[in-house]
Amino acid sequence: MKLRMRQAIAAALADEMRADDTVIVLGEDVAAAGGVFKATEGLLEEFGPVRVRDTPISEMGFLGAAVGAAATGLRPVVEIMFMEFLGVALDQLVTQAAKYHYLSAGRLSVPLVLRGSVGAGLGFGAQHSQTLEHWFSATPGLTVAVASTPANAYGLLRSAIRDDNPVVLLEPRACYGDRGEVDRSEAGVVPLGVANRTADGEDVTIIGLGRTAAVAQQAAEQAGGRWTAEVIDLQTLVPWDRRTVLESIGRTRRLVIVEENPYGGGWGADLAAEVSGRLFGELAAPVLRVTCPDVPVPFQRDLERAWSPGPDVVRDQVDALLATGRLPQPWWAA
């Protein structure tokens, strides 16, 4: 069926809640209002107020409660409305939940899903527009996935709910309204840890994540025959799918990573470092990271749009990479 991404999320929640009584949903205005972004619409009506709960404005409180509930028999799905709000509650996810299995000698697990909206594009300003993958990195025990389409939002969320470990699912806010085909059968479940190759090509592999998956795709489409690209939607960032990525680069011998975050500390560095190291001497060009500039997300419409690299920027950067075999200047300096 065709669904918007927000509906796909609600559908995944409903489908898992029907299958498993222990799945509950918590968050600010997720119940009566169906979510600020309507990603939990209809759940209160179908599953009732015991399992679908509006919380006070207390991220530390309700995320912590979800950790406790997860350790004692439930599978809570927590909505963090804008991922920045986790800045008041990070402890519960990374210092408690992610370490509980370890610190219980494997006797407890924390099947918790933390869904949060992320990213720029809608004019929410510097404190409501970041993607913040880095908050979840370097945290053994935690899995991090990022949705980009209705189909993988649905499929990743179902996997996340079934997983016995804490899983973070980042949902690019700008994509909530996107429509696409969603398979609500088991076949629509998207495994964690597996990337999605969305285009074939020969000259370069372009990897995107979340909102930049489509940017990567469109950049490849705009190449005008000068080059062709394998495009990969990474889907899971931790752990990332080394097999798919390395195989692809084994064919194309060039990698471009498109990121919606500042250059310094952006998620692509991990991939770029590992690929550069593992395929040393086998690459035809340096690994290129196309990121946003190192500034807070600006509000004004044109600046916000200019802040994150669009398909044209990516295409030009790939052109330059292929032409020279060297890293081009950052696009904003060009």
């Binding site: 600010e28 809608l122 300003g125 500034v295 004004q300 419409r301």
Partner: protein, 344 residues
């Protein structure tokens, strides 16, 4: 800042100072707030506002009461619902509307947006889009005053729903135990987003929460600018004389939705209408007209004030609409301060 050198004034200090002396200035300021907020929602409907915006119609008396009682040197932290407080403190309508519309004449040069106003000259710290974040920050401003030996106070303005977040608790406790010159102004407008207070909060009067910090508190009629002014003045007097912080709960109501686009359908029928009977502007107008003793305020005068407010807002809108968006280099202009090797 790039592109903002010739921008219109972002503060009107004289206008701010007039509030304490002149009841009509207070009425006028409430009217300006109402009119600008109404206009912002219209501009939003016209597609001119990027992103979201949170307006404060119905809560004008709180904003103007605070600004009347406080000095421009006091520091105020506020939230995404900060247009009214900013205007009351003396931010110009150009600074506020300019920021909402992303123009270089805005408070943050158009880089912040509706949720991010800041005018240090009149005491407005950057308004925060994170619930509760401004409360400890205002406590820090109070601490700063103590360390520097000034008479300044720190004032935090926040909503009812915000009393459930940890930062509220930690900030009030800290201010109390250090006896800092801080004033906590809770605008209890009965809702946090779409959730009614009693679904998230087990106490009726949020002022009662002050007892957990052995802190004095008051429940205040937030629709009555004179009551607000008086309560804030008492709290500031206590703060400045070493008596420590105070929690003030302003009973108020937002006439519009939580943010643009919210029609407020979660409200019980008749609730809005009942509160509109206590429109702070009408309440104050009536009070002024009935103050026969002073005699100076008649209906005509009020009409004049209203017309002046309308003119002011219309003029601001013209200025803002003629004002440029920030240019691209502006994005890089204020990431780090100074010229040390880091920011070089």
């Amino acid at each position: 800042m790039t592109g903002t050198r010739n921008r219109p004034d972002t503060v009107d200090l004289a206008g701010r100072q007039a509030l304490a002396a002149d009841p009509l200035a207070r009425l006028g300021r409430m009217l300006e707030i109402r009119m600008l907020e109404d206009r912002i929602l219209e501009l939003f409907a016209e597609g001119l506002v990027h992103g979201s915006t949170h307006t404060c119609q119905g809560q004008e008396a709180v904003a103007v009461g605070i600004a009347t009682a406080a000095r421009p040197t006091d520091w105020v932290s506020c939230t995404y619902r900060g247009h009214g407080v900013a205007l009351a403190l003396g931010a110009t309508p150009e600074a506020v509307l300019g920021e909402v519309l992303g123009r270089s004449c805005g408070s943050a040069g158009g880089l912040g947006g509706s949720m991010h106003l800041c005018e240090p000259e009149v005491g407005l710290l950057p308004t925060s889009a994170i619930v509760g974040a401004g409360i400890p920050i205002a406590v820090g401003a109070a601490l700063s005053a103590v360390v520097r030996g000034t008479e300044q106070a720190g004032i935090a303005v926040f909503g009812d729903g915000t009393t459930n977040i940890g930062a509220f608790h930690e900030a009030l406790n800290l201010a109390a135990v250090w006896r800092l010159p801080a004033v906590f102004v809770c605008e209890n407008n009965l809702y946090g987003e779409y959730s009614r207070i009693e679904t998230t909060t087990p106490v009726q009067d949020l002022a009662d929460r002050a007892a957990a910090y052995a802190m004095p508190s008051e429940v205040v009629d937030g629709q009555d600018v004179t009551a607000v002014t008086g309560a804030v003045a008492r709290a500031l007097e206590r703060a400045r004389s070493g008596g420590g912080p105070t929690l003030l709960e302003m009973k108020t109501y937002r006439f519009a939705g939580h943010s643009r686009g919210d029609a407020g359908r979660y409200r019980p029928a008749g609730e809005l209408q009942a509160w509109q009977q206590r429109d702070p502007i009408e309440v104050y107008r009536t009070a002024l007209l009935s103050e026969t003793a002073s005699g100076a305020v008649d209906a005509e005068t009020v009409d004049r004030v209203r017309a002046a407010a309308a003119d002011r807002i219309a003029a601001a809108e013209r200025t803002v609409l003629a004002s440029p968006a920030p240019d691209r280099p502006a994005m890089w202009s204020h990431v780090t301060a100074g010229s040390d090797p880091v920011t070089g």
